[in-house]
């Protein structure tokens, strides 16, 4: 399992983040992102995941984050500051399963050696 800090994520471009996540997940690693992804990055991650699904090798990802917080302050909006994503867990679909999720807690089960 890899826990990736917000500082590291801040230094990466969107494509670099997505590539980093997919490369790790495709080798069976679970990735926890301290500051998550933006909604646009999440949808691009799903798009790239679909493009990389291989029938007998990789069936996709399990990804869980909390619903986004309501947007930032009025000043943030005027200045075009993005609302940051929240802590996110991503893993191979055949190894990571979400048991329960609500606004405040995500419970997952990790299978080893599947």
């Amino acid at each position: 399992m890899d826990l990736i800090s917000g500082e590291k994520l801040d230094r990466l471009t969107s494509m670099e983040k997505i590539r980093l996540i997919l490369d790790k997940v495709k080798t069976g690693r679970i990735v926890v992102l301290e500051s998550g992804l933006t909604p646009q990055e999440e949808v691009r991650l799903i798009e790239m995941t679909m493009a990389e699904i291989r029938l007998d090798e990789f069936s996709g990802i399990e990804i869980e984050s909390y619903p986004a917080k309501k947007g930032g302050s009025f000043l943030d909006k005027i200045l075009g500051k993005k609302v940051k994503g929240r802590m996110t867990v991503i893993g191979p679909a055949n190894q990571l399963r979400t048991i329960e999720k609500d606004q405040y807690q995500i419970s997952t089960k990790v299978s080893i050696g599947d």
Partner: protein
């Protein structure tokens, strides 16, 4: 997005409001088997001279290509709005052909369906760039905190486009639209049964209000 871009976006929204744009391209989004095509078929049946948008099946990912129906005029609340509706393939983060075999498909059929389903998800995502609003269809008998729901809502909020949540399948006793409302309280929600038509009149009124 920078200051100038935000100003342009805000100006565009005001222009639309001033001229009361009454034609909109609306996407039907949601996880597989939420009832998107059932609802699309009902809208077409209610507001056009017939036909259907697509076939409905208990097997997930029955819709694997987006289908657009143009020029549906919905009249409600004393006004009318012209819609192009786009029935999109179910959004998912994983597609395993073995799941389809559990529904009785052969391995070859299941693999073909899985391949087409992955292409369908990509197509649904591409459509997000070309819409004026979204009806997000959720199965009210299921847990609403799916990542697909979170991602679609997050993207519509980021694009500042209108979103209406549709809690479908209220004909089933285990349905709980209240659970969906509690999960996403910041967005309007209409509870319906696309299958038997319960409360769809309220949905049409909400469409007329939110997508003008």
């Amino acid at each position: 997005m920078g200051f100038i871009s935000n100003l342009k976006l805000g100006f565009g929204i005001w222009i639309k409001k001033i001229f009361k744009k009454k034609k909109a391209k609306i996407g039907l989004y949601g996880p597989p088997n939420a009832g998107k095509t059932t609802l699309a078929n009902r809208i077409v049946k209610d507001w056009s001279d017939g036909g259907t948008m697509g076939t409905v099946s208990a097997i997930p990912h029955e819709t694997r290509r987006a289908v657009r129906k143009e020029g549906l005029v919905i009249e409600a609340n004393g006004s009318s709005i012209e819609l192009d509706i786009v029935d999109t393939p179910g959004m998912a983060t994983k597609i395993d052909f073995r799941d389809f075999m559990a529904f009785g498909l052969s391995e070859a059929e299941a693999k073909k369906r899985a391949k087409e389903a992955t292409e369908g998800v990509i197509e649904a995502i591409k459509w997000l760039d070309d819409l004026d609003g979204v009806l997000l269809i959720m199965d009210a008998t299921e847990d609403p905190y799916t990542q697909v729901n979170v991602v679609v809502i997050g993207n519509m909020e980021a694009r500042k486009l209108p979103l209406l949540i549709v809690a479908n399948k209220i004909d089933l006793p285990e349905s709980s639209p209240a659970r969906i409302k509690a999960a996403f309280p910041q967005h309007p929600l209409i509870s319906i049964s696309a299958l038997d038509g319960s409360n769809v009149d309220e949905l049409y009124k909400a469409i007329a209000i939110h997508f003008r």
